[in-house]
């Protein structure tokens, strides 16, 4: 064990063990905004996992929740509306060393970015995507969202919205190559943390939808779930969530669900009368795009030159008397 200084080693271990190490600017969300709980859960996760802040990248789109990267002490990419996923994929594709997180709102992911949402599930690139779903547009001041319930009065639907809200869980579970789907609610922080942590440890694309209150534009939307814990359906499993005694006393509506059972997952997701919390689906055996497409070896300058020369040979025109390499081969 030459050269190993035990004290230094402990230093490294302890270096990133404080929540403050992961805190960026002071959040400017409204007081009571559910985004704060998600932020805390993620900061806790990074601390508990001991992730160096420089190895974490938070990518977001546009919207209230997309301010998220500014509030982390990590690398952050606050890009354009709806396009966080392709940007995150580009970051991950040649940087397996980076932990990539994506934070999107319901408008960002399920509306303007919906094509990318479907294809991110399909590509299945290693990253953790969290959708902060408050079922309303907040930053642009109260417009209907794809997940708004039917009849919701907003500034663009003053007489009530016209169609039933989209169910993101069933859509996600319907995509080929789906790898990890979970849901949490921000007002049960321990379970939110537990779900996000499981998502983080998943190999592949982890999709977590978090039901999140907007105190300004839709404060009461989740009241039925908050006021009566019986309306929360907890999915438990030895490979999923396990409740401690105190939570188990409050949340009695629980069901054993094996996350490898996609048919049951779809069934559970289809019933929106309860707010589901837990791991709906997990499958690490599906194709993982970034792993499949990882280079087999490091390319040196010499290798690059050799490939270029070989290709140029195919198109070579040599002075009379010369010969072409490919013609020799033929």
């Amino acid at each position: 064990m030459f050269g190993l200084d035990l004290e230094r080693l402990l230093d490294v271990e302890d270096e990133y063990r404080r929540l403050e190490d992961y805190q960026g600017s002071m959040p400017r969300w409204c007081s009571g905004c559910g985004d704060n709980a998600i932020l805390t859960a993620v900061q806790r996760l990074l601390r508990d996992e001991g992730i160096p802040p420089e190895k974490a990248v938070f990518v977001s789109g546009i919207g209230c929740s997309s301010r998220f990267p500014h509030y982390m002490n990590a690398y952050g990419f606050h890009g354009v509306h709806g396009r966080a996923l392709p940007i995150a994929q580009g970051i991950k594709i040649r940087r397996p060393d980076l932990h990539v997180f994506v934070n999107m709102g319901d408008g960002d992911c399920f509306s303007i970015g919906s094509a990318h949402w479907i294809h991110a599930i399909h590509y299945n690139i290693n990253m953790l995507a969290i959708v902060h779903d408050n079922r309303i547009y907040g930053l642009t001041k109260k417009q209907v969202s794809p997940t708004s319930p039917k009849g919701l009065k907003t500034n663009t639907t003053p007489y009530g919205s016209y169609i039933e809200g989209l169910n993101p869980l069933t859509v996600t579970l319907g995509v080929t190559n789906v790898s990890f789907v979970a849901q949490a609610v921000e007002w049960i922080p321990d379970l939110l943390y537990a779900v996000i942590r499981q998502a983080f440890h998943h190999r592949g694309f982890s999709f977590v939808r978090v039901l999140q209150r907007c105190p300004t534009y839709l404060p009461d939307i989740f009241d039925p779930f908050i006021n009566d814990p019986q309306n929360i359906l907890i999915l438990t499993h030895e490979s999923g969530l396990q409740l401690d005694e105190s939570l188990a006393k409050i949340y009695r509506n629980r069901v054993e669900h094996d996350p490898s059972d996609i048919h049951r997952a779809r069934e559970i997701a289809s019933d929106e009368s309860k707010a589901v919390v837990g791991i709906l689906y997990r499958n690490e055996r599906v194709d993982v795009y970034d792993e499949i497409r990882r280079p087999k070896r490091v390319t040196t300058l010499e290798m690059r030159k050799a490939v270029l020369e070989r290709e140029l040979d195919k198109f070579a025109v040599n002075p009379v008397g010369g010969d072409n390499h490919n013609e020799k081969e033929a």
Binding site: S25, P52, P53, E54, K55, V57, F58, V59, H70, M72, N73, A74, Y75, G76, F77, H78, G79, V80, R83, L85, P86, I87, A88, Q89, G90, I91, K92, I93, R94, R95, D97, L98, A115, H116, I118, H119, R293, P295, R297, T299, L301, M303, R304, K305, V307, L308, E309, E311, L312, F315, A316, V317, N318, P319, V320, G322, N324, N326, E327, A330
Partner: protein, 632 residues
Amino acid sequence: MAGSTPTQQEAQPVVKEKKIIELPEHIVEIVSDSGEGAQKAGQTFGAISAKMGNGIWTVEIIPAEIQPPPRTITGASGIRIRLGSFYVTNVGDDADLIVAFNEQVLLGRVDTGNLKPGAIILLENMWRTHKDPAIREAYVKTYDRLVSEGYKVIEVPMEQECLKYTVSPRRGKNMFVLGMLCNLYERDWELARREVHNLWIKKGEKVAELNLKLFQAGYQWAEEHLDFKFHIPSAGISEPQVVMNGNVALALGIIASGMEVCAMYPITPATSASHYLSEIFEHVGGIVHQAEDEIAAVGFAVGASYAGKCAVTITSGPGMSLKTEIIGLASMIEVPLVVVNVQRGGPSTGLPTKVEQGDLLAALFSTHGDAPKVVIACATIEDCFYSVITARKIAETFRLPVIVLSDANLATGQQPFPRPKFSRDWVAPPIDQRPVPDGTRPYDWDPRTGLSRRIIPGQPNGMYSLTGLAHDREGKVAYEPWINQEGARCRSMKLAAFQKTLKPPKVFGDPEGDLLIVGWGSTKGAIEEAVLRVREKGYKVSALNIKFLQPMASGIKDILQRFKKVVCIEINYSDDPGEELIDENNRRYSNLAWLLRARFLIDVDSWSRVYGRPYKPGEIEQVILEKLKEIK
């Protein structure tokens, strides 16, 4: 591989004597229904000719649909090959010889004025005896008409001859035609056989063997039945060259530049660059990522580049429109990005397979707000290769998007150029992952140049959150008005700093005179050939091709001022001054003319057409002669 030349074989020659016609150049076309392989035959003929030392330029004749109805005038699919005993820079004027697989696609070329009077036509004659009387009638009618119009029509029993070797002659005729042409133009027998073999060997020895037989049959048929041959002396090559099309050159440029990521979405005419790149990119650790849409493709590229792996996205007009928001993002957050736009006719779906240079102003200005970017244009096939290398360097040095404009003419056109000699300077250095020194800011703009050092994720002590919102030197959202002004100014200063490195372009012809023709991109060859022709007639005309369109080099204004009149010729729409409703208050100029007028306050005129094809030097010559009359 060695085979006896067909002349040594037993067949009875029909023709006893051959007239050998020596020429400085010839323009050959092959036209067929889609899927009959005329382009493959032509590309191979071009490559053989280039390898024999001829100057060549090929251009594909492409219908918009993959499978247009057979035997239709609009369905003509094919290729033009101009070969000369000099360095050929463009498609030339009208064709001297055309091979047609049916008389309808032939009419598609005749009626659009692409043939010289009295041109030689080698025409498939199976239609004369076709079982459908309507087809027989149409064939005979066209044949008679073309003969009466003075064309030298030679009927060729292509189908009949090919049937001797294959049951599906429709797919083998192209090699028969290649054989005929190789005989007519005295192509090197061994070289041609090697090319045919190499073309087909991927599909197996049997296929290669069959195609060689068909090639030989065509060669032999021409030897026996045609009483003429053309001799176009070699231009002579003193150094190694390569011959390829512009999209292949782009792909090789990507390899040579050290890029690792190409994100794209299929779009004509850009996609073939990605096809070729997909075959070879992984050999250098690269990835061609076919994204779910154009926006995702550019987003993916920006993400990869932000993470330190320089990335390119290749597209065409409609894709450019879709990518615009994220190109603006790249400009705002100062992430290097190379965007290649292989232009086609627009707006909207426009002319998907055909050439236009309509995206210049869009490349400069389409982003909302002020989003400085560098715009460069490829003028030749060789330029396609080097432009990508240059673009990556500029993008990374100046932390901004660089747009490379190619077009459909370059994409499929073939031209030989000196074989590139690999330089390690082309390649991006490995990314910096050292800790960032204390006090380094993510946008530490130099107040004079706007330049700042890029921090890459993974670097300890460098954590920051970039944002597309207006931001300060810390990367923090700007809440004070002067910060937005400062950010915009610094991003603009980068362009100015880059502009200081540019040298003025060289004038083709004398540096002063009566008329200067200004162009950009792939019209260079045709414009210069036209200018050369009028100069030989004694006119004081010169040409200028501008490669760096944003920013523009100093000295261009001085060049323009040394001529009595300046006219932009480019392939995009502009109003003609002679139109009844058009006057100086409403005339819309061609793209580059707008730009030059705005920048230099010079009364630049323009002439342009959107025919969806490259200009012929002859038509430019006519425009020059007309414009010369306007000089007082």
